[in-house]
Amino acid sequence: MKILIVDDSRAMRMIVCRTLKQTDFSGFTVIEAENGIDALNKIATESPDLVLSDWNMPEMKGIDLLKRVRDSGNHVRFGFITSESSLETKELAHEAGADFLVTKPFTPGSMQAALDPILT
């Protein structure tokens, strides 16, 4: 399984990657993108099985990235990892076709709980 982590913060990409390794999941490889454009390119060229994206990013917000992905007919599993936990954010994510939303700060347990339904 190939997982694409999208976040403009290198520190947060490292934390997401480290947390994934602390879950019960194994056998995955991680690729990274630092913005939405980079992510679109990697989705096209790397064909990840799962995208974990930040919400609040420069140039292209995570929700716009998801809309671009879905508009292109790509149904890759897509989850948000964001500090923005408002009801409005969750509704926007769901309506745009997100599979789940994990709120920062997260734990291996909360990450596991979000990924369990779609990876097992």
Binding site: R10, T103, P105
Partner: protein, 158 residues
């Protein structure tokens, strides 16, 4: 553990518009515990003016509810936070990594504040730099001793 609150303004919003010092302190504590895993305790001393050589990171919440969240720390603590986030030694992290990590701390707390208010608002990208004296009165100030250094969190509702 109790947090320290300084000079709540009489004009603070109330009800669902209000972020209490307890809820803000809990958000900060969650970040220190869950994301950074750094030893910390509330700091009950008197606040001192922010030293000009400190780092500051800020996010702005705009919309039907407006506020600015600012955090301050000395360079040593900011670097310690970066070490925790990157899980790497200080000597392999550059200044950009330190600013990145410090900005992400205020971004996470700010997003949690926005989520608690749950109104039609937008969260800015974090801005990080050297602290500048700010005469704007704060609605809430919370301080934590983190690894022997002070982390100051200010919420300015305006």
């Amino acid at each position: 553990m109790t947090s320290f609150i300084i000079a709540p303004r009489p004009s603070e919003p109330s009800g669902r518009d209000r972020i209490s010092h307890q809820s803000l302190a809990q958000m900060v504590q969650d970040v220190l515990t869950t994301m950074l895993e750094l030893p910390h305790q509330s700091f009950d001393g008197s606040p001192e003016p922010i030293a000009p050589n400190q780092l500051m990171a800020a996010v702005r919440i705009s919309g039907s509810w407006q506020a600015t969240l600012q955090i301050y720390a000395c360079e040593k603590l900011a670097r310690r936070i970066a070490c925790a986030m990157f899980a790497q030694a200080a000597d392999v992290l550059d200044d950009e990594d330190v600013l990145d990590a410090f900005g992400e701390v205020v971004n996470v707390i700010g997003g949690n504040v926005k989520g608690m208010i749950d109104q039609d608002c937008t969260l800015s990208l974090p801005c990080v730099g050297t602290a500048q004296p700010d005469p704007t009165p704060t609605s809430l100030t919370i301080m934590y001793d983190v690894c022997g250094n002070l982390l100051t969190v200010e919420l300015i509702q305006a």
